[in-house]
Amino acid sequence: MNLLEVNQLSKSYRDKRILNNINFTCNTGEIIGAFGRNGSGKSTLLKILFGTLKANTLTIKINSRTIPQKKIIPSKTIGYLPQHSFLPKELKVREVISLFFENGDAQDAIFYAPRVASFDSKKINTLSLGELRYLELLLIGNLHHSFLLLDEPFSMIEPLFKEIIADFLMQLKKTKGIIITDHYYEDVLKITNRNFLIKNGNAIHIHDKNDLIKNGYLNSA
């Protein structure tokens, strides 16, 4: 059981305060949903937690031990699925799998995952959006991080892959804590334990779709 504690997270760009004193925790076994309108700071939040964007103020603790931002990547405790594709386009799927996993058993976990056999000999730049997003999630999810940050894993994905991704995330949460942001709120609400909405830099706790409407993220119609 691992615990991620995020305290006093603030970020400003020039005079504009994007995130204002955000505090939350994430345990192994939890999926936390982060909603927000475009430009509200969802991706900024994840980049800060991954250590690739500097915060103005932040304390991150993993299992009660403070971890400086620049040590997050070398510590291999937090994995991150960025919003845009990051795999080398010129490589084949099987070559990419061997970049991430040296060990045969670990490679097999990807090769024998649902539907991977149908595209494992293709080049990355020929995969459909759904195949690519699913592959990226499989690769990051099977690494040994304690926590995962997922930036829009459901965006533009066909329904069949959405179901596979949701099932995979439910499996992953048995061993990891997951923070997920996506505009596909119905897909997110189905799998999350807790949710918050980032509005005017602040985190507002959300229980269901009605709260998203009440706080102006969705129209009431």
């Binding site: 510590s75 291999k76 991430f100």
Partner: protein, 94 residues
Amino acid sequence: MYPKAIWKYFLDINFFNIVFSLTIGFVLDFFWSFILFCSFGILVGYLGFQLFKRQEYYTYYNLGYTKSLLLKKVWFLNLFISIPFLLIYIIVIK
């Protein structure tokens, strides 16, 4: 350790580096190609990667490698390769 991932980064960075170092070598002297390959050429390679393949850094970040760690590895490997080739060049050609 992820040797295949490190090797991939090494090749990608040095693609830009070799093009730059050889071009300078043709203009000046190939002695400078070896010097540049393990020095300023790495910066050129880094800028090339940054320009065309920046998003791929997330592969390396997820494997636990920061940019500075990757560049240190490339610099060390390039130095290791350059020195013997430079000595051979000096002994045979000069």
